[in-house]
Chain length 357, copies 5
């Protein structure tokens, strides 16, 4: 993951300029669900213009645009649903932070869906337009992530979507996006646990750089989770009459989840920081131990080596009584061993007293 992965137009570009910066990943595919209190109709559309007939009807319509939306398609949608230029620009320049923008009879919402495959954290920007009786959702993923929501809609005895307004659909999508944070954090939690084990048992520079990368991913995720929480607060405050009273309790639930996710993330960050301290102290600790082994060995043998060096000297003046007489003593050699053994015992006693061995 690059440090700077934000896409932006060069300063001075006119606002609302629609130019694709990212490489297209998947072709665009449009799905439409039109539902009333009694029926659910599904259509797979080829172009934006095909949505027109549904606009006139008094039904609730959910248009899901997956894959890479090219500027032309966007412009078509823009004209048909009267979408603001700046909003369209935000869809094409993905990497926006979650936000809500209120227009006269429309709300534009950007949410971020975290997707983690155990290696790379991808932050998928989901852009929603919510009008009186329609919801348009743009998602750059090739595969539709909201299939589970669609499944629930299709259940014949599920009256929730049927009985409530388009705001309940908005809730269902937002709830999906927020809850997608749980499995991601679960994976991060698992990684943290195995990193901790590694740190305590066989710490290496590699463990540290994994920890560092994990921290960076937590930081990246955090950057979208906080504004996402605010986004839901704004929705709940209901200054726009987007959310009806009956759906509010669902958004409160969704808000609780978003707080739980943030709290988990914050404690993971705390843990990662704490683990770095452990790593540092364990290195110091090991240096200290290595040091101690060296000191013990060196301190014991260096004096002994000196001593045997003494009697390796070649002073040899037969006429002098001072010329290494020890070498000619009867018990000279055992005496040297005696001195050496006593030296070792003394040093061992010294190290014991200092709790070094």
């Amino acid at each position: 993951m690059a440090y700077f992965s934000k896409h932006y137009h060069s300063p001075g570009t006119a606002p609302g300029t629609l130019v694709t910066i990212q490489k297209p990943v998947a072709p665009v595919s449009i799905q439409l669900i039109d539902y009333t209190e009694s029926s659910v109709e599904e259509h797979r559309l080829v172009s934006a213009r095909d949505c027109q007939p549904f606009l006139a009807r008094e039904t609730k319509t959910w248009i899901q645009v997956n894959g890479h939306t090219d500027p032309d398609t966007l412009r078509n949608f823009g004209q048909m649903f009267d979408l603001h230029d700046l909003a369209l620009e935000d869809i094409i320049n993905s990497g926006q932070r979650p936000k809500i923008e209120l227009y006269d009879d429309q709300a534009f919402i950007i949410a971020v869906l975290p997707v983690y495959d155990g290696q790379n954290l991808e932050l998928v920007q989901v852009s929603l337009f919510v009008g009186k009786n329609y919801l348009i959702c743009f998602c750059p993923l090739a595969e539709d992530p909201f299939e589970p929501v669609r499944k629930r809609m299709r259940q014949p005895n599920n009256r929730r979507f049927a009985d409530r307004g388009i705001d309940y659909l908005l809730y269902a999508l937002m709830d999906f996006v927020i809850d997608a944070g749980f499995p991601v954090l679960e994976q991060f939690g698992g990684q943290l646990e195995s990193l901790e084990e590694e740190l305590l048992e066989r710490p290496s520079q590699k463990t540290l750089s994994s920890l560092h990368e994990l921290k960076r991913e937590l930081l990246t995720l955090r950057r979208v989770l906080w504004p996402q929480r605010e986004l839901i607060t704004t929705l709940m405050r209901g200054e726009d009459e987007l959310i009806l009273a009956g759906t509010l309790v669902y958004f409160r639930d969704c808000y609780d989840h978003s707080i739980q996710i943030i709290e988990l993330l914050e404690s993971f960050r705390d843990m990662a920081t704490s683990m770095l301290d452990i790593y540092l102290s364990s290195i110091s600790q090991r240096t200290n131990e290595t040091m101690r082994v060296l000191t013990i060995i060196a301190t014991i043998f260096i004096p002994l080596t000196f001593l045997v060096g003494v009697y390796g000297m070649n002073f040899d003046n037969p006429g002098s009584p001072w010329s290494m007489p020890e070498l000619r003593w009867y018990y000279g050699y055992p005496m040297v061993w005696g001195i050496m053994i006593m030296t070792v015992l003394g040093l061992v006693w010294f190290f014991k007293r200092r709790h070094w061995i």
Copy 2:
């Protein structure tokens, strides 16, 4: 304790889905206390339906549901007392953060009871529904933790429960849950103290990992204490007319306790961080001391070893006056000892001056 211990439905699950995720620990057991100004009746019920007769009466009723509440029992309670689906889901998905949810004529409160056995910190979710004249409390523990409250209720001369509304019962339970933090923190405090002693006297990597674990438990506890404090603030603000004026002073007392607990916890966290610094510095200090011993020994003996090495050389050209004449001097050997003793004395003086010995 695992880093990620949150239970959640997979994203996209319909809200209000009641599926047990946790393994059941203990069978469900329902206790009911029905009390008026003059009498206290106790019943041990087998099913949710048995509560029906008490609902009709003008008495105050406390229903305590202990152990593992299966989805069917929950649904029964839900139908009888008109409980919200999302609230029921929160009861089954334990690990929620403390919160209060206000419905039309009912409040739903989640509080967290900390239980610590000296080894593992368990955060038991206590879920309460408070209505006009009833209170239902769900607690997953096998044994009823609120027995002391029940005992006070049974005392014939205790007019407090009798004279006040159901809000006083709510206070009694909340007070119990909050005060349960004191013995937990007392144990943490004791552990901190013994860890500190260990750190100052015989620090080891094990002490550090205990400290790390303690910090993690403090962090976990903190994650529920702060929203619990907020929860009480919300109750005291009295937007819902749940708490009567006369009981307010008791909730203020309860609020004071919750702040005291948080302050204790925060200072414990400060202390734990401070102790880590001490640990690190004590390792550095010991490395420094080990280093010094090695340096003193090595610095004294290495030059001496060199010197005796010199006179261990075998230069042997009898015709040359430069071929190690010292070896044949009369006082050669004592002279070498003299040089060595002077070297040692010089080095000892040098180390003394540097305050190394």
Copy 3:
């Protein structure tokens, strides 16, 4: 000082239970001052009941209860002055945080008087009830700390107490409690200064643990100073009509002092943290220096020792011209010394270039 020194009833105890937890330190002693615009009367009372006659009179009455107040005495005061059960419980369970509790015609204030003898910081809980024309103050110290206030009262030309209401007396006591922080912080400041000097000159593990203890005491003191500041803010806000306009300016002065004390404390904490960094870096610095001495000595002598070792070998094949011919050279021995001196000079030059010597 123990990490956990809070006194609490076991969870589930009825609120307002009066049971002494702490060991009694000194017997109770009650002093009463009854003063009007023209006279000051002093009485030493034996029991709570003796206060009754003064209650009826239109004079201002200050009742000071020093020492260990047993539950019976408290209950008597409670009945006579209509004190709330929870307030009485807070008096007996000392270790409360500063707070103000407003009852119908009475305010209950808990303040904390810091007492420091150079070794132990004691936080003495002072509990005050302020009514229309009386003030009752409970203080567990054997000796009355407020003697200086009483002295000012007795001065015949001091019209301040006489001319103003009971709120001026409250100010005088609160001011005393707050200002008591200055000498305590002065002592802490002195200790910090001597610790800093120690750290810069002869740092030891003992200095560090003193610093750690000082930080802990600062933390403990901080825990009461912040709510004490809030307490005065609450008093000044004057929601209750406790403080009259004329006395407000005095409370503002008192508030200023409380902020000054907090700021001093916070900068002391900053200093203590900063000193820890100095300690750590000074250890690293000394390790580095020790290391350097060792490296210089070892790097100079180890090659020399090798060299003399070479010529200490006993290769001795008289028939081989390769069998250590140097040993038999005319200038062999001076040549070795020459090589050694040049090696030393080279190494000295190398160390000089690296600024090691």
Copy 4:
């Protein structure tokens, strides 16, 4: 970049004193664009007085003053447009923080344009006066940075500037200034990435000082970005009727960008701090490894050297059976080798067990 680069008059100087403190960089050059709904006129002016004719007309006028504005020019502008003395002083004393100052029928805005050439971060102060139908912009750069905006204006089919008020021009300039942060941060991000790679592969003190400098530049940039964000909030709050409702949505977009830039910057700062930790730990790690190599080599060879030293002693009393009899044993020499090989194997086993090799 110097730590203190702020220009200020000596304390006590009269407010509004216009004295150039900075060295002039480029001569002043004045450009004027006068535009209505149907036409765009461009003029290159020589002096402030030449603007007069345009003031009288009902057109929208943008006056761009580039390069070093001398006090006389400023005074002339001041008199013609009734600019406040303090505002003029702020233009000359560059290094101001972004702010907005509202006068009766004029707003004075200071924004900061970050310019980064890969080596030095320059913060260029852009000062704007916005009146009913004119905008004056002072920029000390020699070359006009706002050329891209002027280009958009000249496009014949671009109705945005024509249809909207002077507030849209203000938006276009502010948007340019804010968006200029993106390329700067992109460069910082690239530097961070290459520094990280360096740190993980071949860390050196130089890498660290580059990191330190980068942090300082991030800090410098941060000091202007936060007040710039506030500045836009103030504009959007619309207390002054400067921004019309239709342009508000554009300012909201601009606000979003300013938050994105701040968030990027804050995460870069986090990353830089985190990288310092990695650097420190990698040094410790390498010290530890160096230590280990030394300890292994020393611990293996020091005892061996002692042993061979023993048999290098010259004890030589032919009459004593204790005088190093091993030297005369038949298998003496292989025995020593045997002992030495066993010692090595034992030590290797010891190091393996400790995971040192």
Copy 5:
């Protein structure tokens, strides 16, 4: 600078007690400027009583009291201008934090003038009383710091003081006090820069303690700058009608300066902290390098020394073919050299591969 330099009365002293605690530095000297729209009169007064005639006149009067104000002089001023006892006490107990106190027809302001001589930072308390048409300023410095303001007043064509109320004089003094922070910070910035250079080139424990002292002085300065900023905010809020609308824009300028100073100070503190990290890491780095030199030298020569030690042994059993036959080989000695050279080459290759040399 002492850690605790606050002057305070012993707890329990009556409020408003005027006793000099500090040692008098300079005798009191009173200057008076009386000015109207058309004239400026200057007087050098001997006592407080001499101000009386000016009080009666409808002119604006500035009384500047420099040097050590003794209690009697203060009491005289107090009686003549009806100053509050607590305010007088604050003047004598210097070391107060900046604040504003509003009395009925008077404001009492304490500001702090930082004075730095490159060695000691002195915080001079300036106390001002502002009434309807007079301003009294007490400053303990011997020399009047406000001479530049007085100079501007005397300029005959300077209509600012003449045309505006006493609030403009207050602004002039406050602006002087605030702007005095710039030269102080400039000096601190210079010191930081030279400390940084020292740290990167020749770090020593002395550099560190200078850095520590600088941090302490920044902390001390910070303690007065924050409340000073608040003080100006309070003045600008204009609850008291002290500041007229026309002067407000000047106070806003003053406020901007106070924020700039605080931001500079905060970034200096950040820098100082960052430099400590650099220092610590540079020590670690140097320890690491020292270590590496030692390890390389030791690792190369210790095995060689062992080898030459082997052939220094005296095994000498002529009858045994195992008794060091190498010593008698024809190419024995060159072979040993060969082994040694190969060992060195091998180790050099090993160190190269590890990037140690």
